[in-house]
């Protein structure tokens, strides 16, 4: 990283609005540390308690998805200790209209991409009532069938998001894909 690149980063990231960014391995202890910072800053920035709670709950589900399904990525990042963790990126940013976007990204294999696409497709087009039903069905599924549906975490994110969630896969090195997902509050 040279100073010119660093200055470019400043141009992309706003200074006058809420912004929290994390990139690196994500484990339960990272979730706790970043979550503590997020809570403190949201409490200072927002007055509406419900909004703080919804942002925080989507944050937890995104981070836990990164821990559970994240991989070390094409460059094989080092994961310390024996913690379950994966590489992930997270950005929580307030848009011009005051809505808060939560974005997370991680690497997946081509096989995982195919499996995720069909689950996501259903989530993206479901109405609130359909999402509620999906949640109920998935909650009651026996353990051997649990992995066949969208994870509870993803359904929770889709339900809490105040606009339809978005998702994308971008080809990355080593025949992997960079998966990213966006929710709004």
């Amino acid at each position: 990283m040279n100073l010119a690149k660093f200055a470019q980063l400043r141009e992309i990231l706003p200074e006058d609005r809420f912004m929290l960014c994390y990139s690196g391995y994500v484990s339960e202890s990272v979730l706790e540390a970043v979550g503590g910072t997020l809570k403190e800053r949201l409490n200072l920035h927002l007055t509406e308690k419900k909004k703080i709670k919804v942002v925080f709950s989507i944050f937890v589900e995104l981070m836990q998805n990164l821990i559970r399904y994240g991989s070390s990525g094409p460059k094989g990042i080092h994961i310390p200790n024996d913690e379950k963790a994966g590489f992930g990126m997270l950005m929580i940013i307030e848009d011009d209209d005051g809505a808060i976007s939560l974005l997370s990204g991680n690497y997946v294999s081509a096989e995982e991409k195919t499996a995720m696409e069909s689950r996501l497709e259903r989530l993206l087009v479901s109405s609130p009532d359909e999402l509620r039903e999906l949640m109920r069905d998935q909650m009651r599924k026996p353990p051997e069938l649990k992995s066949k549906g969208a994870s509870l975490g993803l359904i929770e994110i889709a339900r809490r998001s105040t606009r339809p969630i978005e998702a994308a896969f971008v080809p990355a090195a080593g025949s992997q894909y960079f998966f990213s997902i966006k929710a709004y509050v």
Partner: protein
């Protein structure tokens, strides 16, 4: 008289208490444990101990301001086990407090309650928390 059970709240787990003298239990705070299974196994064991001491009724108050999706499944399983105990003859009442404007929690509790025939599960909306 049985043993009291008490778990202090942590930043990621709620305070839990079970009092055999008053046949009451309470759970309050936030719930997104680092190890969901471990936390709920301890809770289930404490409830089993409570009933093993001969208790035949329980009033449980749940005041969780936030719980994550894995805790939701574990809470449902906990309610399932209470439903089973109620079907076997115990008198169990659960008073579940939730933020008035938290539809996701309200829907969740309503949806699980629809499956219960014996457990008395009541949703109580509260203003702010």
């Amino acid at each position: 008289m049985g043993q009291n059970f008490f778990l202090a709240a942590t930043s990621r787990t709620p305070e839990v208490s079970i009092d055999p003298d008053t046949h009451s239990a309470a759970m309050s705070g936030e719930c997104y444990p680092e190890d969901t299974e471990k936390f709920f196994t301890e809770l289930n064991r404490a409830l089993s101990d409570y009933f093993a001491q001969g208790a035949s009724s329980l009033q449980l108050e749940i005041k969780l301001v936030y719980f994550n999706s894995s805790s939701a499944r574990a809470l449902m399983e906990l309610m399932d086990s209470l439903e089973q105990r109620a079907a076997d003859g115990a008198k169990i009442e659960v008073r579940w407090f939730h933020d008035e404007d938290d539809d996701v929690t309200k829907d969740f509790v309503e949806d699980i309650a629809a499956d219960y025939r014996n457990l008395d599960l009541v949703l109580i909306p509260t203003l702010d928390s």
